[in-house]
């Protein structure tokens, strides 16, 4: 409680300081300067606990800006002003204030996590500068208490969407009539995905024959899996994180459960393969934002450009979403025809049919992208591109 209060006081002080600093100039929103450049802020986790997310996103943004600046937008170049929020919410607040009042950016990309993005919302809203998170998937980032945060956007789809994609895939592609759900009852992510999976799967005429739960950090899942096995489902949905999922997949196969199992981007880690073992992972699927194995030319061009710039490194989903975020903003600036933050906000909200690496982009009324997800299949410990699923 005390901590919250302190953070509140601190935040309002920072906002006040920001407004005062902005008094010298004509407007508090960003504007283009005379040198013909438009500044975009990047408030990212470049160090600290989730530094790998922030760094990957920045690599993607850097590549995109390099490409965009070859031609420029109406003769102007985009300039990135990076800020390291050290993976901490108070630093993210400082960063947003600095980028808006001192650097006068027209929009901010960041942060990587939902929590650090939420910390900046108030500042972005009050100073009317668009805030665009590449990877914040929690549903309350763009909407708070039923009210839209109109200056907040995201490039990634939200958690429940992956559940509906999985339900679609299970009933259509795998022809599953019955399914079991095995969730991590300590995680909102897992519960959200399971709820949206269940809703669509039942609507499509499927039957949920068993729902079992575990708690994060458990190691023994035999008992629940034996219960699931007893119901003989065609398909098992396991929306969890890789540490437990690895063990679940392994123990399921040991018990002789050989039906397809499926999860979402929480499975996406090399540790999963170590924990479950290559053989056990066969016949399992995940939904994800992006796959470098997608044969789409847009994706392949991106992979080629990325490898050329970063010493043959294969781009991951964070790289792709960072890259797309930069294009998302550049496109809005182009359509707005100016570097005015409010016009850019309007253009961002009206985005419809923009072709990006992670799919065709259209925003719904809650500023959540409606775009396709990819489905990957594990084959001998390798993720292979299976198919791309468009939203219905």
């Amino acid at each position: 409680m005390r901590k919250k209060k302190l953070a509140g006081i601190f935040m309002s002080l920072m906002v006040a300081a920001g407004v005062m600093a902005g008094c010298n100039s004509s407007s508090t929103g960003g504007e283009e300067d005379k040198g013909g450049t438009i500044k975009i802020g990047a408030n990212l986790e470049l160090s600290g606990g989730v530094a790998s997310y922030g760094q990957s996103i920045k690599e993607g943004i850097d590549l995109a800006l390099e490409e965009i600046n070859k031609e420029g937008i109406d003769g102007k170049k985009l300039k990135l002003v990076p800020f390291d929020n050290k993976s901490e919410a108070p630093e993210a607040i400082n960063g947003a204030t600095k980028l808006i009042s001192q650097d006068k950016v027209v929009a901010i990309i960041g942060a990587a996590t939902s929590g650090n993005t939420k910390a900046q919302i108030e500042i972005a809203q009050s100073s009317s500068v668009p805030l665009l998170t590449p990877t914040g998937t929690a549903d309350d980032v763009t909407v708070k208490g039923g009210k839209l945060n109109d200056f907040v956007f995201r490039t990634c789809f939200i958690d429940p969407f992956q559940g509906t994609v999985a339900a679609n895939f299970a009933s259509k592609d795998l022809n599953a009539k019955s399914a079991a759900i095995f969730i991590d009852s300590a995680s909102d992510y897992s519960k959200g995905l399971a709820a949206s999976f269940k809703e669509l799967f039942e609507k499509k005429g499927g039957k949920i024959v068993k729902e079992e739960a575990y708690v994060a950090k458990d190691t023994d899942f035999h008992a629940q899996l034996t219960n699931i096995k007893g119901e003989q489902p065609d398909f098992i949905f396991v929306p969890g994180y890789y540490e437990e999922v690895g063990l679940i997949v392994k123990q399921a196969r040991e018990l002789g459960i050989d039906v397809p199992m499926m999860g979402a981007d929480g499975w996406d880690s090399p540790k999963l393969i170590e924990l479950a073992g290559k053989d056990a992972l066969n016949n399992t699927f995940i939904t994800n934002h992006y796959s470098s194995g997608d044969s789409d030319t847009k994706v392949q061009d991106f992979v080629k450009a990325f490898k050329a710039k970063y010493k043959d490194k294969s781009p991951d989903a964070f790289n792709a979403l960072g890259y797309d975020s930069a294009y998302f903003i550049a496109d809005a600036i182009k359509r707005a025809g100016s570097g005015d933050s409010k016009k850019i906000q309007k253009a961002l909200a009206e985005t419809d049919g923009l072709e990006l690496v992670t799919g065709k982009m259209k925003l719904d009324k809650n500023h959540n992208p409606i775009k396709s997800a990819v489905i990957l299949e594990y084959k001998d410990g390798e993720q292979t591109f299976k198919t791309k699923v468009s939203p219905e």
Binding site: S185, E212, A213, Y214, V215, T219, D220, H222, A223, Q224, T226, N227, K229, G230, E243, G246, L247, K250, E254, L255, G256, K271, E274, L275, G277
Partner: protein, 293 residues
């Protein structure tokens, strides 16, 4: 029916690990009346030593098991000499609090040394095929866990009842001062107890890693507490009691999960502890109080 037997098999595999840890708990308590809360962390250290023996030294399962047991035996003696021996004549609460401190020290010391990330035991260290009897799958590993647990329990019973050091242990547990007067080296006897108990925890660690794959620095906390419950359930200080308590607790947990209460599993284990302390504080095997080892 198939499913019920499968759940029993699941429970016995889990219970064998609890039993192995509980054996060490119960021995140490029987001799020095100390609840060694660091025991679960010795189990964790054993799992890591086994892991590094297999991955870095490229050893098989049995050599890794032996190395881990030996290293944990030394580790256990060191803990006793450094942390518990100076407190031998202090109040029991002081020793108990020290044990908790030692436990936290080992956990976070391990995190300091190697980080908190989990590690995965390599698959197929033991190339045992799983059996299938009437649709019930029994993995080769479960059979081996049970075999290792029972074998070690028999060895332990032999040591306690047939060897000279076992005789000394029983004498010390009966009356420490009288044993001293009879010329028994109490310090060495207590060290031997810690060595044997910790070696068993080390073995449990390797077996756990092989069966459940994932090991991490805080993995000893819950199995350690469950093993404590198992020891109390069987009657703390009684070796066959610890074994039976461990197996029983494993089966209870599996059955609780089987009836849909997977989220209640840990809670039920501790409800068992409370019930046994209320209704039968000496444990299920607790009649035989004269000889506690």
């Amino acid at each position: 029916m198939e499913q019920f037997i499968q759940q029993l098999v699941n429970g016995i595999s889990l219970g064998s690990i609890y039993a192995l840890i509980a054996l060490g708990y119960t021995m140490v308590y029987g001799i020095v009346k100390l609840i060694n809360f660091a025991h679960g962390d010795v189990f964790m250290v054993g799992a890591f030593i086994g892991f590094y023996s297999i991955t870095i030294l490229d050893l098989g399962f049995f050599p890794a098991l032996l190395i881990s047991m030996a290293a944990c035996a030394i580790f256990g003696v060191l803990i006793e000499r450094i942390a518990y021996k100076p407190l031998r004549n202090a109040t029991r609460i002081a020793a108990l609090i020290t044990a908790i401190g030692v436990s936290l020290f080992i956990e976070y010391g391990t995190i300091y040394i190697r980080g908190a990330q989990p590690e995965a035991y390599p698959n197929n260290i033991v190339p045992l095929k799983s059996l299938e009897i009437f649709g019930v799958k029994i993995s080769g590993q479960s059979i081996m866990i049970l075999a290792v647990s029972i074998f070690l329990m028999i060895v332990l019973q032999f040591i306690v009842h047939k060897t000279k050091i076992g005789k000394a242990m029983r004498a010390v547990s009966h009356d420490m001062d009288a044993a001293k007067l009879m010329g028994i080296n109490v310090n060495n006897t207590i060290s031997a107890t810690f060595a044997i108990g910790s070696a068993l925890a080390g073995a449990a660690g390797v077996v756990f890693g092989m069966y459940y794959t994932k090991i991490e620095p805080l993995m000893g906390i819950i199995p350690g507490l469950k093993a404590f419950v198992a020891a109390v359930l069987g009657g703390i200080g009684i070796i066959p009691g610890a074994m039976a308590g461990g197996l029983l607790l494993g089966v209870i947990e599996a059955l609780v999960s089987a009836t849909g209460g997977s989220l209640w599993r840990d809670a039920v284990a501790f409800i068992v502890l409370i019930l046994i302390l209320i209704f039968r504080p000496a444990g299920l095997f607790g009649k035989n109080v004269r000889e506690k080892v």
